[in-house]
Structures are given as C-alpha cells and as structure tokens.
Symmetry: C2
Amino acid sequence: MLMNFDPPPGDSESPGLVVLQFSSPIQLQLQAEHFKRVPNSSKLAKKLTHALRYILGEDDDMPTPTLFTEMDTLQHDGDEMEWKESARWVKFEEKVEEGGERWSKPHVSTLTLHSLFELRTCIQTGSVLLDLEGYSLPQIVDDIVDRQVADGLIGPELREKVSFVLLRKHRHQHKKPIHLSLADMGKSNNSPTSEKWCVSTCFSYDVSDPAQSRSMNDISDKPSTDQMKNKFMKKIPRDAEASNVLIGEVDFLDKPFVAFVRLAQATTLGGLTEVPVPTRFLFVLLGPHGKGKSYNEIGRAIATLMVDDLFSDVAYKARDRDDLIAGIDEFLDEVIVLPPGEWDPKIRIEPPKKVPSADMRYKLYVFSQVNGTGTAGGPGGGEDEEMPIPHELGEELQFTGRFCGGLWLDIKRKVPWILSDFSQGFHIQSISAVLFIYLGCITNAITFGGLLGDATDNYQGVMESFLGTALAGTVFCLLGGQPLIILSSTGPILIFEKLLYESNTIDYMELRLWIGLHSCLQCLILVATDASYIIKYITRFTEEGFSSLISFIFISDAIKKMYYPINRVFKPDYVTTYRCECIAPDQGDHLSVTGPTLLPRLSKKECVKYGGALLGNACKYVPDLALISFILFFGTYSMTVSLKKFKTSRYFPTKLRKLISDFSIFMSIMTFVGLDMLVGLDTPKLIVPTEFQPTRPDRGWVVMPFGKNPWWVYVASAVPALLVTILIFMDQQISAVIVNRKENKLKKGCGYHLDLFWVGILMAVCSFLGLPWYVAATVISIAHIDSLKMESESSAPGEQPQFLGVREQRLTGILVFVLTGVSIFLAPVLQYIPMPVLYGVFLYMGVASLAGIQFWERIKLYLMPAKHQPDFSFLRHVPLRRVHLFTLVQIICLAVLWTLKSTVAAIIFPVMILGLMVVRKMMDLMFSQHDLAWLDDILPEKEKKKEKDGKKKKDHKRTKAAEPESDEEVRDED
Amino acid sequence: MLMNFDPPPGDSESPGLVVLQFSSPIQLQLQAEHFKRVPNSSKLAKKLTHALRYILGEDDDMPTPTLFTEMDTLQHDGDEMEWKESARWVKFEEKVEEGGERWSKPHVSTLTLHSLFELRTCIQTGSVLLDLEGYSLPQIVDDIVDRQVADGLIGPELREKVSFVLLRKHRHQHKKPIHLSLADMGKSNNSPTSEKWCVSTCFSYDVSDPAQSRSMNDISDKPSTDQMKNKFMKKIPRDAEASNVLIGEVDFLDKPFVAFVRLAQATTLGGLTEVPVPTRFLFVLLGPHGKGKSYNEIGRAIATLMVDDLFSDVAYKARDRDDLIAGIDEFLDEVIVLPPGEWDPKIRIEPPKKVPSADMRYKLYVFSQVNGTGTAGGPGGGEDEEMPIPHELGEELQFTGRFCGGLWLDIKRKVPWILSDFSQGFHIQSISAVLFIYLGCITNAITFGGLLGDATDNYQGVMESFLGTALAGTVFCLLGGQPLIILSSTGPILIFEKLLYESNTIDYMELRLWIGLHSCLQCLILVATDASYIIKYITRFTEEGFSSLISFIFISDAIKKMYYPINRVFKPDYVTTYRCECIAPDQGDHLSVTGPTLLPRLSKKECVKYGGALLGNACKYVPDLALISFILFFGTYSMTVSLKKFKTSRYFPTKLRKLISDFSIFMSIMTFVGLDMLVGLDTPKLIVPTEFQPTRPDRGWVVMPFGKNPWWVYVASAVPALLVTILIFMDQQISAVIVNRKENKLKKGCGYHLDLFWVGILMAVCSFLGLPWYVAATVISIAHIDSLKMESESSAPGEQPQFLGVREQRLTGILVFVLTGVSIFLAPVLQYIPMPVLYGVFLYMGVASLAGIQFWERIKLYLMPAKHQPDFSFLRHVPLRRVHLFTLVQIICLAVLWTLKSTVAAIIFPVMILGLMVVRKMMDLMFSQHDLAWLDDILPEKEKKKEKDGKKKKDHKRTKAAEPESDEEVRDED
C-alpha cells in the first residue's frame, strides 16, 4: 500500500510510537487502517482480519435478527418536551416530512463524512453499556445515567434532569387511512406557520393514563393500540428487533451526553417504538442547544449503521467499545463517496435494484484486507473478474449411455414434485393465466382448424381441432416433463398435411394413421437413446433465431387477418347510385336486351341460395367493417400493453396494480367486446362448433389401420414419418429449451425425454382418432410462463421486488385444455367475442414474446448513437462493431428463414433450425470465444478449452500479484 | 461541536499540544477540522476560513479556466510500454470500456474514501512543483525527476528509467465515425482474449515520425492530426486547460513515485492529451507492481478533484503543498457518503439534473465552518431555510399614479428590444413554430368564421374571420407589448355577437361599430389609468382555473367535431335492401297510390337542387367516414405526442431528435394527410375562401357610423360596450399573465398596458371594417411559447440541458398572420387537409396546455398512494390533506365555471374570473399563509405580513442559536 512512502522507523507493531512520526495526523485517521498500511505487515493484517472474524464468529451459523431503527428527536413546545419520530430505517431511510406530516419515500441514506467521524468520537467517549439487563425504560435510563455519573461524564446534580428528558412521551408519525385524512381535510388550520405542527391533530399521543402523562414518566410499558394497529408492521420481518436513536438539544448540559446500550434481551419498552417490536439497542445523544443539525446527522449516521448488515452483526457480537469502533472503521472503509461538485446533496437517491449482500461484502472485505488492494468499491471494482455466467448444462442433457436412462432420470426428477404441481396452482394469478392462455388456445384451434379443414376437405376441421387440442394438451400437462409447455398445431404440420392430402390417391386417413404410428415409434427410439442430448448445442443464437421467427409469423398472421375491403370510391354526393341487387339467374344472358329482373325482396343469402346473381357497386363492401375491426384489433392490443405496464405506474396501491396487470388481457377483451356490442356492427365473431360430431359426416371417430391401402403403404409410410419425426423433434425440443431458459429461474427441472415420449404417444393416439398432431407452441408457451411469473413482495420499504421464478404447476395447463374441450358448451358466451379482438391478443402474444430477447435489444443498438446506448454488460466487454456484426448475422439468418418458410420449403423448416446450429458453429471462426461468451453461449466442446484458457490467465495474474503467498495462506485457513 | 466532550486543557491555540490529549487519533484526522471543533474558538475558525479565502483570493473576479482531465495508465505489452487513455473528465467521468473499446456513458465519479486518503498522503509525501516553467514534456519530466532525486525520494540510478517510462507514447481512445467502424466490422478477430486490445486496429497511434517512435522520446511536440480532428473538442469550453494524470506500475521501483506539477503557463505537450488543449497540471504516480487497482483509484480521485470547481480554484492558486492539502480537506468535508449496504458500487450514477454551483458551495462551506454546523450535506440540509420563490411583481404592474404612466413604461421597456425582436427570429425552430401556430390559427379562423356566419346571417363569415385574424394579429405582433401572444376570436365574443344580432331590430353592423368604438374608448381609459395593475391579484389558483377551463373547452370542441353517424343497423346479409333514392317532388303527396317516381340518374346535390326528396335507409350515412375520421383525428394527436416525446428517446443523434420533436406537428399532419389521400375516402376537407369579397354580398368592406340607427343608439351602446370591455380586459390580461408566467423565463419583460392599448385600437378598426373582434387566445399562445422554448446545448458530457427561456421575438407571430392573410391563395394546397387532422392538432394544443400545470399534478395525487407520490417540494411542506382540499376547491370552481359557460351565462364568463379571484381571497380564511405560499402565491397585501412573520421566526431562531455573536461577526466582515 501507499504507506510505504514513509516506512515507520520504529517497530511496526507499536503504533503508539509511530503516531508522531507522520507528518500529518490524517494518516492516523483510522488506527486500524494504519495497521493495514504498514508495508509487508501481513501478520498484522491477518491480526486485524482475525479481529473482525472473531467479532463476527468464525462459524457463524446463527444469523442475527433484522434491525428496525427509529430515530426520535426532542421537541420543545414552550416548557413541554416530547420525543417526536423523525425518521425510520428498515433497510432504507424514511424521513418524516416536517411540513408534510408524512413519510418521505424510502431512499438511500446519504451521510456526511463529518457525521460519521463525529459518531466515532461519540462511541469512543460516551458510555457503552453492553448486555444491560433491562426490563423497563425507567430502569434502563437509570442505569445509563448511573454509568455516566460513575464515569464522571455528568455531574450527579444532572441525574434528575436527564432522566426526566429521556422519559418524556414519544409521538410517532402514523399513516392515517385515507378516508380519515380526507375527513380531516375540512378542518381549518389557520394557526401561524411556526406552531402548525403543534396544534395538528394528525399525531396520536401515546397516553395510556392521562393523569400520569405529565408525571415524571410519560412512558407506559404496554404496547399501545396505535402500535398494534400500525400497518407498517407488515413491512418488518417477524424476527426483527428495534434499535432506538434519541437525539435532543437541552439547556442544562454544556457538553454532549452519549450512550450506546445493548440489552441482554430484546424488550418491548412501551411507546418507545412506533411498532410493537422489542428494543435491543438504544443510542442516546443529548447536547447543548445550537448544534441540532449536527446531532441530527450523527443520529442518522448511527441509525444507518445499525441497519447495515455487517455493522449490525458487529453490534450484536461486540464485546467492548473497541469492537464497535472496529465495526465503524470497517464501514468507513467500504463507503462510497460522491464528489460534492457532481452531486446535489438534496437529491434523495432511490434505492437501487440490487444491493451487495452482507456475505459478499464480508468476503470482499476480508480478501481486500489481506491482499491490501483496498476495497472493491468504486465502479469497475473487480471488473476483470466479471465473466458471463456459462451456459448451464443440467444433468437433464447428459448422455447417460443407458437404455431409457434419460427418461428414467426425468421421471425420477419429476415424481417428487407431484403434489406441489397441483398445490402451487391455487393462486389468483392462475385464473388470469388460464383465461389468457385459454383464449389464445381456442383462437389458435379455430384458426388452424379452419385451415386444416380447407386443406383436407374437412377430414380434419374445427371440431377435430378443438377435440385434439383438448386431449393432447390435457395429457401432456398432466404427465409431461415440463407442464408449462402448451401444445398446439403448428405451421409445418399444416403444410405437411396439405401436401399429404393433395399428392396421392391413397386413402388419406389410413396413410396418416400409419405415418403417425411410425413417427411415434421413431420418437420412442429417440427417447430410449437419449437423443435429446444434442440440443445442448442450441445456444442463445439458435434460440433467438427460432423464437423471433415464430413470433414474426404470429404477428404477421394476426395482421393479415385484419384485411377487409373498404369502398374507397364512395362519394357521398352519389349516394343515390350505390346499391346491390339480386338478379334472377335465368336472365343473365340476355340482360342487355330486356334489362335485369330484380328480386329486391331477397337477402344476400337467399339470393345465392336460389341461384341469383348479386350485381351492383355496393355488393362486396360492408361499410365501417374494416375500420371497426382495426379499432377492435389495435385497441385490444394497445390496451393490453398499457395495462401490463400499469404495474409500474404510480397510481393506485401495489396490489390493485398487480391485479390490473395480471388481468390486463381479460379486461381488454371485455372492454372491446363491450365496445363491439355498443357499436353493434356486424363484425366476424368467434363461432365454435356446438355439436359433438366429426366435421365431415362420412368419417367416424376412429380410423381403422387396415383395409383401404395396399400392404406396402404400411411399410413405406416410415419414410414420410421420418420427416415428421424430425419436424416434431426440433419443434418440440427447441420450444422446450426456450421455456427452460435460465432466465426463467425454473426450479423443478425439465424433462426433455419425458416430453418427447408423450408427444410421440399422443401422435399415435391422435392418428387413431383422426385428430391433428400436436407439438409445443413457442409463443403460447412463453405467454404461459409470462403470465405465471412471481415477484417477491417487497419487504423493506424501497426494496425492489425481485423476480423469483415461475409458478411451476400443472393446474393452469390442465384447466386451459379442459376448458377448450368444454368450449362446445360455452358457445353462447363465446359468440359475442369478435375475431379482431382475438387477433389483437395474438398480436400481443407475438410482440410480448419478442420483448426481452437480447437479439431485439441489439437490433435497437443500430439506431442509437453510442453514448445513448444502455449500459449492457456485453457492451462493456465486446467492441460495438463486433456486436453489430453478430446481430447482422442473426438478421440475415432470420431473413433467409423467413423467405424459406414463405415457400413450400416450409416443410423442411425444422431442418433449417439445424442450419442455424451449423451457422453458429461457423461463427466460432469469425468471433473470438470471449466475444461469443458475452453475446451467445460457448459451445460444449469449446467450454473446456475456454476453462483451460481462463485458468492459464489466472495463473499468469497470480505470478504478477505482489503477495501470492498470503493469498494462499488465507485459502489454507479457510 | 462534539469536540467539547473532551475540552483540551491547554491553550486552544496550540494544537500541537492538544493532539496527544485525545483518546484516539481519529479526532485528528483533519488538522484543519480539529481547529473548527475546539469549542468557542471562533478566532481559530475564522483563521481557517481566512486561509481558504486567502487561497481563493478575497476579491476573486477572474474565474480560473475550466479543466479537462485525462487519465492515462501504463500498459505493458511484453517489453514495450505505452500510456493508454483510461478515463477522462470534463465535469463527469467517462471511462474507456476495456473490452468494449468505447467510452462509457458520463457518470458521477464514485470514489472510495480509501483512495481519497491515500491521495492526500501522496500529495503530502510526493514532489509538488508549482509554477514550473515548462515548454516540452522531456524538460518537464527532467525537472520532476531532478526534484525527486534532490528530495532523496528516488536514487539517481533510477533517473533514466523513470524518464524513459514517462516519455512513452500515448494512445487515446478515439470515437470512430460509424461508417468506419461498420467497415471494420467484417474484420476477423480471432486472437485470444487476453491480447485482443493490443492487436486491435481501433486505436490510432500518435506517431509523427515512425523512426523516432522507439527512441527515448515517444512524444512529439506538435498536436497530431488525430488530436485536431477529435470531435470531442466541441464539448470542451474554449478557454479550457488540461490536467493529465499518469498512473503506472513498473518493476524497477520499490516504493511509489509521486509528483504533482503546475506549469507556469499552460503548454501543449504534443500527444499527451487526446484533444489539442494546453496542459496546466500533471499528476504522476508510478509504483511497484501489484497495486494497480489501488493506484488507479488514486488517479481517479485526483482527476475528480481537478474537475471540482472549488478544488481546481485551489489548485490554480495554491502557494504550497499545504494549500493543496487544505483543498483536499475542504473537499473531504463536503463529500456525500453512501452506506455500502444500501448501494452497489458497480452502479454508475447518472449525472443529476442540477449540481450545486461552486459559489453556493463556497458560501455554504464558509458559513458552516464559522457556525460550526458542519456542511449542509445530507438530504434535508438547510431544508428549514427553503421557501417557495415569492410571486414576483415586476415594475410592470406597479401603480404609477401618472396619466399613461404604465403605458409609457411599457414602451420604454420594449423599445430597446426592437432589433433583437427580429434578429432572434431567425432560427429553424421558428419555422416549425410558424407552421404549427399557422395551422392552429386557420383552423380557429374557419371554426369561428363558420359559427359567426351562422350566428349573424353571414354578416361576418369565414372571409371576415380570415381577414380580421390576419389584420389584428399582424398589428399586435408588430406593435404589442408581448408579441408571443396570439390574438383570436373567443367563445364569449361569439356569444355576445349572437345575442346582439338576434335581440334587436336596430341595424346590426352600425350598432356593432358604436359598441366597438365605445369599448375602444373604455380600454384606452383603462390603459391611461394603469388599471391593469389589479391583475397582480391573479395568483396561480386563478391562472390554473382559467387556463384549465379554456383547455377543456378546446378539447371538448375538438372531440365534439368528431361526431359522424354510423349505420349501426347494417347487416351484410341485407346488403340488397340498402339504398337512397331521389323521388320527384310533385309526386310526394300521392305516393301511396302510384308509387314514387324514381330519378336514379340524379346525384344527391342535383336531386336537392331540382326539389327532389331523398328516400331510403342509406341516405344519412357515409360508410367508413366516422371511423376514418376517428383514425385521422386520434392518429394525428397521438403521433404528435409520440414525436414530441421522441426528444428524450435513446435513438438517433440529439440534433435529429430535436428536429423531429420540433416538427412533430408538421410531420403528423403530413402523414395523416397522406393516409387520407391513400385511403381516398371523402373526408371533410379544409376549405378556405378563394375570392377576396365579403361573405355577404350586400355589405361592403367599410361600415358607416351614421344613418341607419336613431341618435340615442350611439350613446346607449356604451352600456353593452362596458360588458365587452370587461370581457376583453379579463380575457386579454389573464392570458397575458399566463404567457408571462415566471416559469417561462421571459427576459424582455411584458407590457400589459401596451397590449390592452392595441387590443382597444384594433377593436375600433375591426368594427369599422365589419370584422370580428380579437383578444388573446390562451391555448394558442401557450402553444406558441412551447414551440419556441430554448434549451442549453449540453456542454460537458452528461450535463443535462437546461431550459433557458423562450425565443422572444415578433417574427413568428407576424409570419403566422401574414400567412393567414394569404391563405386565400394557398387554397389549392390547403384543400388536401382533412378537418379531422386539424381537430387532432386542436386536441393536442388543448392537452399540451394542460400539461405542466401544477393543478393537474395535484389531481393525479388523488389516485396515488402517498408512498408513490413524486417528491414535489410542496408535499414536503404541506400536509397531504391540505393539498387535497386545495385541489378540491379548484375542481369545484372549475365545475361551476364549466356549468355556467354551457349556459347563456357564458357572456358573463370574464366576470366569473373575478369570481375566482374572490374565492381565492376567501381561501385566506381556510388555509394558512404557509400552505398557500407553497400551493399558490401569496396575495400582495399578505406578502408584507408574511415577510414580517418570517423575520420574527428568524429572530426567534437566532436567539436559540448557540453562537449568535460569531454569526454576526462574519456578517460584519462580509
């Protein structure tokens, strides 16, 4: 360290002598620091680290309770005095706004260096009473005063006066329910400003016995009802204890009176604290008039220290005054300093999203003490060490080498969760998720059902689509490896069926059955051989390409559906010339001679029914339809987006906002169904089949395997089945990878083999029943996960809620598909829903599944000047042009995929995913592994190489480090 | 202060002795501070303050140059060494992202306390060379090394080695133009991570002479072309000087080598600095290997100090080492400390909107030193002092008591600005402002023209409206007191004209002329008697009520215009039954007998022309009209809002964004005019008159005053004229108050009397010409101001642009009205603009004028839980229920006004403003003056009382303060 400028000539272990050798007292500012700075004094450094470790306990298994700190200041009202709450800390500071009579927003406690040093002096010179046996405040106060008198810090004549002051009653800032404060609103408040808070009725006095309230002791020992009713209690952990800070100016003292008390047992001291939390610590600072602001800052400093994780540990375990001082020194050593010219101290700093944990800080501290590198504070501290979290390969994707080894592991992994898979489903969020996904599923079922019906002459129609969705989905969610995955028909399957139906004269349903059976068999072989392990080569690059493509298809389908013709040549002046007439059929040919025979009483349908022709410039238009559809479509989409965002708005209480956000889709649909009904235009509605029978009357519910085709077809169908298998495998597994992404923080593990097993089985079943084939649907599955995300309830005020994971359970999925099955009976309700509204939901799903993809963020970077770009960690480590190049490759891949999927080649779509993986492999040649580690993940075989490289680099570093041996020593001690 | 715990027994003026009396060295941490802490040592305190004052110079008129700091660190590449730029400071820190090869965003330099103390030690122990005569780097380096050798800090054998290291070449981080870095993108970069930056081609080497580059001296004395081309130069003030910080680890030193150099003259030292700025300061820290991170932090600390306003002053004026130390101590005393458990040091803190100025800090510092209250740091510091800025009453509203005194002052105030009133108009922003306001004005002219035409049987129609707007507006903007005000017809005038025309048999135009003449006379009397002074009773309460009401009217008018009928019963199936037929007129009565005679070849207009009747269920509907109108209307509005917001987005360079934001309205209008043309529906278009003649053929351009009415009418018309006068006066002046709001930071003063003078004169002129009367239009005037707002170009990177004021000039106004006048010739272009688009602009104007009104912010508070409310200063000082009550009163007033204006009572509308002022007066009884000062402004007569109160309070405080005498003493010295 730098102290080796002036190596102390004396023995470095006798600091008392050293003091005078230094040219300025600044070098002594922290005695402890001095030790650290003596060059090569690794023994001493270790001693200090030992000291801190000793205080905190080497094997510290029992965590200390959380501390709630309340700071009360002494208020004078003429001759009367009372303690008024002025701030409180759970983790962050909340201040009482004097004039506002309210709590400020929780904010980071910005302290002055001054106050921290003064606090240190206070602890050094004042009374420190550790493990005081205290059962009531008067007794504790007596003990404090006795000690002060004994130490000669105050004269005995002041004993009475100090006690009197310390036992004045405490007034707390209570948040009133809004209806009460509204009722208060009318009350006139004309008193002069300076006395306003005194006459205010907003405070609740803690007076258990009015007669006693002016006596010596204003404090009662029972918690008051105000305390019990205080809703703030919810924000304080159950095991919390309180530390009370009392700060006051009095006229009888000529020097400050300081006491730091730790009680042997946390004790509820009546109205001392605003909440009924037992008090463990007490810090008292009384001083002569005139320095109020300074005292206040000292109070804030000790309060901030008390809620600091490390210092509170020290405070609980300190054996003497010196331990406390060491704690303050440690705190000082870690503080972050803002230059006065670059920051306005009046700004209240919002709590950050994440704060370093106490453990982390402790480790860093100990490490830095020993290594002498100072703390890791300051931006960029420890930046070199920072590396992206490597692509995690769970045991799920290990190649077991045993027959069905992976499947067996999947089952073993899933069985323990069976109960919680259902119990965790009971939550209000599940209702919104079910509604949302249900609507997505039936829209999908209707869309695909309609298309399949067209493609196969109704061999498979809407009815089959509903039934198949319900059957396959329910089975998969009940028994599959990852019940968050939603099965659905997908585009490639649709194209395959279309080609199959068109291209041969062989009986379609029977051929399809055999293809399904072969494919099922092939899937089972893949399961048995653990073939799914190859998907570990699917990195972020492939994932993003696939899911972006699927999202784009979703979005473009939704928008395409919105086309309705508009009569653009309509001129209001020629309104008299617009009509659409029904012309009798037989006259069509000699129309020019006799003029058409008009049939004005026939409606459009009747006209067509009787073979008439519709003639006129108004026939093909439905006025206002295009635009109302647009409004319904776009309105549903944008209302959903706005309501989703509403969670982070300032309005309404948090719970209500969360509810609104969770039910945003439901509320948007209801709103626009309502609007549609109100406008009353004849928009296309959701029509589900109402009778339980196959769409085509000439087919039954079961397909017979034999009889209609020659025998060789049964064998030859294995070849097209292979295509279907690849298609199913890729589509299923990549969706599963996306669902199982580490960002989703899933806890119950995945089950790729089990998933594929059930998809295979369901194929066979569906083939027998003549239902469409099902596979994981990326977009709806992502929507499912998004609608089930959990956030921590923010505990301390100001703490940001953390994303905890997903409500992993089978209930929502099962419910969605059961509902889909019974939709046939829900037709009377569902018929009010206009299709544009549902396509709006589609659009939302597509756009939402794009959000949060890093690829998307990187595309945006193209449009941003470097200085406005967000502070992504990959931008700190990879040059912008490399980032842009990576993104460009992705864009090109996506464009190629999009072009291919628009042609008949769509059927080899899943094979193209393999193409993506090949492109990714080739990118190893274009990009360094370092860049790829930040932008993508490292491919498995490179992983090991990388690790080796990393180790080499580390070794290199170590040889450069000054005290490698001490580093090693510490490791040994650990 | 707290040091009176341990009163030093010795003489308080001999600190050397005192040192040992203290129980811990912490109390000595800053010797200077120690002085401050000795109780009642006001003499000493003054000494210190004197010291700092002495360094900074008592009469410090010459500001020191701004410092640009660059920090270079020594990089080893095998045996090669070079200095690589690692961070720079103009005001905030920008770091080179090692991996990213780019500049980080500017951020607040978060330092560790450690590094600051270590820096202090460095300055104490290293070489300090002040006012060194330096002309080249080698010579300066020689001087530094000589001094170090002379001081015995390094051995003479190291002289060569140190010089060699210090003269290595400097490599700077240059921002490449994007097209170059895109071209770079393709370059393969497969080198291993650890060496990547070395082979990168992104850096530009500063090698003037390749042959010389490996020689002893890598530094050339001429600025390189890279330096000259560096665009960053724009961000550095012209007079700036550089301070260079060099930090490196070398293997030949066993203890650090520290030097702080101030050159006598700032000198350009070749490639030392990335920009061609002369270097004034040089800080060198070389040390043994292994402490690189620690050195780096020290470098950041000195760099941060050098850009600190106060410290850089000290550095320029320091006479010796101790002055620098005093500067560091002062800095330390002011720093803001963040507790380690509440803040993650990795977070880069964005620069705040505003930082305390150096002057402010200096004053606070001196004050706190003398008073011993510590620094004002920490949130809430000096909060008690905080008071709302009082309602400013310029000399404009003083009652002069002289004939035309106010008018004379107005003219005197305005004359000096005549030239700049035109020259300041030449700016690109003016173009967008003119377009925006022009469109608002013609929309208004057409709307009011149409309504007036209806009300007066076309005595005043659209033609008159255009002409009057052009005439009145041009004259007012050319000669008025506040040329930012836009004149327009307003609602009350319209109602008055309607009543006037309907209610009598007297000749309308002549009567109107006489009313106008009387009213003009009355206005002139008001001007002559300085009657406008009464508007100083218009406080925020009245302003907000008035402007909200006007905005609501604007918004509701815009929305009302959007009603078009939709054929809601249309069923596509019955398309054959919809028609609209023209029936011959004479057959209407025996229709039932023979059936109607259809005239299918006639268009709607022709049908009506020939007296036919339109019959059918399709007649009153225009398909798709309602919805396309809605889309145009709402689209224009929301696109404008989005583009306006675009200024703060991350995309595109700042200038482009500003342009887009400025022209948002124009671009939105163009877009939706384009959409309208594309869709081709027959939407209502903007039709302006194309021939220059009165709307009604039987009236001429001039109205004769006599002849048509009996003589008593000429006299009696003074009575209705009085109503018009009040109406004009209130409407005009309150709009003027809103325009002249202090928030707008107008610099050229206002001219209430002059404004009213011209409004009066124009009334008379318009009456003679039979044109409508004009008065200030609140909403359009606010829009005018908003479109002319200026922001400072951000100078230092990261500094927030400040609102500077409004482009106050007459050019935009004049252009708007000249354009309005010549609109008759613009008809071929204007006819493409659909009215819904213009009403969208109206809606935008209405909503935009509501934004930023505190009333509106307070309404939002009703919906927010207290903890989510923004940190408004009035919420810190006024209890929430009082705020809510105040808002409630405003809402009730507004509701009453709204109800009244919807009735015929609208004509007394301006009188109701007086009513608002009465309500405000009564609120003095409901609210304390303290609350009103925060929520509103204090009424003039209360102002004085308040001032007295404030003084009393202050006095009271002072008696409480401990050292009133020292406070007084300092004041005397000032």
